[in-house]
């Protein structure tokens, strides 16, 4: 658990003239949950999308600095983003299943990466659905449209879909903000379980959630990391006054 999976060095990101990330430094531990907290608009999602280079899709974006995944700079010119995104999966804020069957949703990633044999796909799909704690609920209707599932189920399906490509890192951007409390606690339990096999980075605006599920927490403010460290310490003895204000709810 002490090994670092991701090392972020002096990361700066500009949307046009707007500097959305400022000199971000972070060491994300392997097989741990790292939470990113902070008021909205402070750059949490932007930072998360730097880790799988989804920001590349935004026009007029400029990125400076390094993100090392297992020691390899993902912003190296020779990096193939499709291979990177295979290693670094992502779950979005709004559940976004494809308008296809549950099975086809989960099989989508493996199929992209060349898995064709029915049996192999079947077992990957089952394994991924089990990994996302949704297999029991959907095993009798794998051929039914994914859009027929409830929001909470859709989100766990999206997690299964991400797991099916067997990533090493899982990025989650406020994965429970669109869910009801019961679904939320299911996804939180899932995060606990996931960190056994994956490195999880989760954005949350819910402080209790960060405290409950994460090992490390980073507090962002206006694009900069104000404080970063073990979650227990950050919540019980914040070093920075601004962190304290934020976690005690005194922040605007």
């Amino acid at each position: 658990m002490e090994k670092s999976k991701l090392l972020v060095k002096d990361l700066n990101l500009y949307y046009g003239a707007n500097r959305a990330l400022k000199d971000v430094e972070m060491e994300i531990r392997d097989k741990a949950v790292t939470a990113l907290i902070g008021p909205s608009g402070c750059g949490k999602s932007t930072f998360l999308k730097c880790i799988n280079r989804m920001n590349d899709l935004v026009e007029n974006v400029r990125i400076r600095g390094q993100v090392l995944l297992d020691g390899e700079n993902i912003y190296d010119r020779r990096v193939d983003t499709t291979l990177l995104r295979k290693k670094v999966g992502m779950v979005f804020q709004q559940p976004n299943p494809f308008p296809m069957s549950i099975y086809d949703n989960v099989a989508y990633g493996p199929r992209l990466h060349g898995v064709k044999a029915k049996q192999e796909l079947d077992s990957i799909v089952e394994e991924a659905l089990k990994g996302a704690a949704i297999f029991e609920e959907v095993k009798d209707r794998l051929k039914k449209p994914a859009l027929g599932l409830s929001g909470g189920q859709q989100q766990r399906l999206c997690i299964a879909r991400a797991l099916a490509v067997r990533p090493e890192v899982l990025l989650m951007d406020e994965p429970t903000s669109a869910l009801d409390p019961i679904s939320t606690s299911k996804v939180e339990e899932l995060m606990e379980a996931l960190k056994k096999s994956y490195t999880v980075v989760v954005v949350t605006h819910n402080m209790q959630q960060a405290a409950r599920v994460s090992d490390d927490t980073a507090f962002f403010l206006l694009g900069a990391v104000v404080e970063f460290g073990p979650t227990a310490a950050l919540f019980s003895r914040p070093r920075d006054k601004r962190t304290e204000d934020y976690i005690t709810g005194r922040f605007g």
Binding site: N52, M54, L57, T82, L83, L84, R85, K86, G89, M90, F92, Q94, N96, P97, F98, P99, M100, S101, D104, Y108, G109, R111, L112, H113, K143, K144, P145, A146, C158, R161, A162, V165
Partner: protein
């Protein structure tokens, strides 16, 4: 004691003037009237076509009409076989669809997903303009540009043939090309709208799973836009089947088996080109052709919406 003044109109009671009720009722009547008019129109067209199209069937016989290949309405012993005409419509529109639909969908993909904004800003209005051009203009351009080129190709291909009947380039192939071009704007515009309507989150999901741009287009965006694209195809097919003006001009309009370098006559062009001088059974036969065309379009629409739409819904 002053009563509290409320800001709500008619506060304290839910009973209002119900001023909206009359408007609601009027709107209801207008909507119903419009809907009834559409149904009335379809019903009367059907009735009229059946009434005007059946007499010739009784006189000539359904078998002779549908299965004979000889069309000689003005001969001393008139023959009214329209098998070649039917086949020409089937083959001609079929080929035009096979040519036009893929090109149209790929163009739509290009416009919606690939082209940068400046290129799209030029191509898009051009395509829209194409949609507004009257079909007879397509026909004129076909005569002016396509037929001569086709004639050259024909002379070269059949330079050693003793039996080939030269068409001057006015043949099935020319008609197919003109039809394919004519359905392009319909297919492109509607498909593009459908593709653009796919939520960006779908694209993001595919890319985040490690999909390439092309994989993302073909495996997630197009499937998500499927029902709109099916509509595009159905409307394109409708335009191709119903087209008469342009293909009258470029297809040579003599009744032949639908082979690429033969002059051919479609169901539509048969009616258009002969209505002016026909009379008696011949004239009634043209109405029968209209009936056949009508049935043809109905069947195709049914098949397309049933089969394609079913494929469009995820199981």
């Amino acid at each position: 004691m002053k009563a509290e003044k409320s800001i709500l109109p008619g506060a304290g009671s839910l009973i209002g003037k119900k001023s909206g009720a009359a408007a609601e009722r009027a709107a209801q009547i207008v909507f119903t009237a419009c809907a009834s008019f559409a149904i009335l129109a379809v019903a009367s067209i059907t009735l009229y076509l059946v009434l005007s199209g059946t007499p010739a069937i009784f006189q000539v016989g359904l078998k002779e009409i549908l299965f004979s290949t000889v069309w000689a309405p003005t001969a001393a012993q008139p023959r009214y076989g329209i098998l070649y005409v039917i086949l020409t419509s089937v083959v001609g529109t079929g080929l035009a669809i096979l040519l036009g639909v893929p090109v149209g969908i790929l163009t739509a993909v290009f416009l919606a997903e690939v082209a940068d904004e400046r290129v799209a800003a030029v191509v898009k209005p051009a395509v829209e303009l194409l949609a507004g051009i009257p079909s007879v203009i397509y026909g004129l351009l076909g005569i002016y540009l396509l037929n001569p080129a086709m004639y050259r190709l024909e002379r070269w291909l059949f330079r050693d043939s003793a039996t080939h009947q030269f068409t001057g380039g006015a043949n099935l192939l020319s008609a197919v090309i003109v039809l394919a071009i004519m359905i392009l704007p319909t297919v492109i515009n509607i498909s593009e709208t459908a593709i653009r309507a796919v939520p960006p989150s779908i694209k993001a999901a595919s890319l985040a799973l490690g999909g390439s741009r092309i994989q993302t287009i073909f495996k997630s965006i197009l499937p998500a836009a499927k029902s709109g694209i099916v509509t595009a195809v159905v409307l394109g097919v409708g335009r191709a089947i119903g087209e008469a003006m342009a293909i009258t001009l470029v297809s040579g309009s003599s009744v032949n088996a639908p082979l690429p370098f033969r002059s051919v006559r479609f169901l539509t062009t048969a009616i258009v080109s002969e209505m002016g001088y026909s009379s008696g059974t011949h004239r009634q036969m043209l109405f029968t052709i209209g009936l056949v065309l009508f049935v043809f379009i109905m069947v195709i629409n049914l098949i397309l919406t049933r089969v394609l739409k079913k494929g469009g819904q995820t199981p």
